[in-house]
Amino acid sequence: MRMAQAVRAPDTNSAAGEPAAAARPPAIEVLGAEKIFSNGVRALAPIDLTVNQGEFVTLLGPSGCGKSTLLKMVANLIEPTSGGLMWWGRDYGHVGEDGKKLVFVFQDPTLMPWARVRGNVRLPLDLAGVPKSEGDARVDKALATVGLEKFDASYPRQLSGGMQMRASIARALVTEPNLLLMDEPFGALDEITRNKLDQDLLDLWFEKTLTVVFVTHSIYESVFLSTRVVVMAARPGRVLREVVIDEPYPRDDAFRVSQKFAAYARDLQVLLAEASVSGAAHD
């Protein structure tokens, strides 16, 4: 843990600065992607956004700003009406090659109620035909990472909301992804549970050299987690401003109560208010 910190901390710091960020290879490039739904609603105006490898980017904005739509586009769950996306510099057809994997974590735990925690976490491996012995070891590792090793034989209904979300994250980690796409994963949880999961997620990202794109409508969550916050506005959905959170990792509760944290939160609050106003002007 100490080692990881020593090795990565300067790196992460420099990622916050503009020039160094450009030096890192991009994981995701959104190139003028626009989305108009079949009912005529313009969910996203053409958007340009680059997420570099190793970044923790949050998409923050009022509801209806298209942040979930953008994330689903990055997950290739929906296609842009015009413009395009690149994954690790190539098109989606190459995702999964040379270990470049992405995984999507839903807003709800989305667990199979008929399967035990272990069965749920195993699912992606079963679908990919990974042999049982290898799969078991990976499932054990993923469960240990999220602290659910004692609950592998429980059914989802026997777990609390926070634990169900942990199981969902374990299922995402079991495929050993490079890129984690999370759509308001802790939105339905109480604040104490959410803070704990935010902390654990951040530690995980820090240790595993993951890239994370995280959708939230919580200012505090976005400041605490991100290397960079992308503030979005609604009608049509667009990027309003990008705010780099210049604070070294690992971050803990001390950061939550610091002056710096409050200052960032205040800036984002102002931006969000602006996002809402400019959205209203478009009506």
Partner: protein, 266 residues
């Protein structure tokens, strides 16, 4: 709290039995007091007596009815499930054929039974066909509903993990459909019995079968009302037994996870 829970479970068994005993005693008492003739309303004791005396006759008939019921139920489950899978695979197939499944459902079996009995020479087979038609629809409609009632998030998850159609069916659609399927089983098992009895009523007048419905018809003609009651009692008992069997099956299959089978924790 646990003790109370256990008590209420015992009460759930004891109270209905008490009510049953009280009603039987009142029935017996009334019949004796007003000296109701046995060809109108036989006393429970007399019905029990008849059940014992005519046991070999009734038991043979019971076996015939059970055989028809179970065969019809079996065919209804197999055919109904296959049809549901075909419908669930393609919206086009469902659009083309579903109205005819409804047609089959809304046509009273009594109305088509004579036709089937003419077409199908073998008497038992004719009865099975009638009862199968009656029992088929709940299996089809419930299983289709179940196969369609897949959590959209889970479906997305499967698609994102590049699941094949077969994996999606076996690992997602079938488990999702299970609670609906077992609901269909409960309805269908009762309908199979009803179908078997009704079909025999229609066919039995020809003197081709000797199921419980036939015994009821014969007993009616001969004004042997105690025998009629005894046969009726056996049919009811069969229906209850079938229902309990389905409840047990459902509990075994879903008890671990599905809300319908969970005992609320106190």
């Amino acid at each position: 709290m646990a003790a109370l829970d256990k008590n209420s479970r015992i009460l759930g068994i004891v109270l209905p039995i008490l009510v049953g005993i009280v009603m039987l005693v009142m029935w017996e008492g009334s019949v004796r007091y007003w000296q109701v003739p046995k060809y109108l309303v036989p006393s429970p004791v007399l019905v029990a007596q008849t059940l014992v005396d005519q046991w070999s006759l009734l038991f043979d008939s019971l076996l015939v009815t059970l055989k028809v019921t179970f065969m019809a139920f079996f065919f209804a489950v197999v055919i109904g499930t296959l049809i549901a899978f075909a419908f669930a695979q393609s919206k086009l197939i469902e659009m083309s054929f579903f109205p005819y499944a409804v047609l089959l459902q809304v046509t009273p079996v009594v109305a088509i039974a004579p036709l089937i009995i003419i077409w199908v020479k073998q008497p038992t087979a004719a009865l099975v066909v009638c009862a199968t038609i009656v029992a088929l629809f709940p299996i089809i409609s419930n299983t289709i509903l179940g196969l369609r009632s897949v959590n959209p998030g889970l479906l997305n998850l499967f698609r994102m993990n590049k699941a094949t159609r077969l994996q999606e069916l076996v690992r997602l659609r079938i488990p999702s459909a299970a609670p609906y399927f077992f609901g269909g089983l409960r309805i269908s098992s009762g309908l199979a019995l009803i179908g078997a009895v009704v079909a025999e009523f229609v066919a039995g007048t020809g003197g081709t079968s000797a199921g419980l419905a036939y015994q009821i018809l014969q007993a009616g003609f001969q004004l042997d009302i105690p025998l009629l009651f005894a046969a009726l009692f056996l049919i009811t008992l069969t229906g209850v037994a079938l229902f309990l069997l389905m409840v047990t099956l459902s509990r075994l299959a879903l008890g671990d996870w599905h809300e319908s089978e969970l005992v609320p924790e106190t």
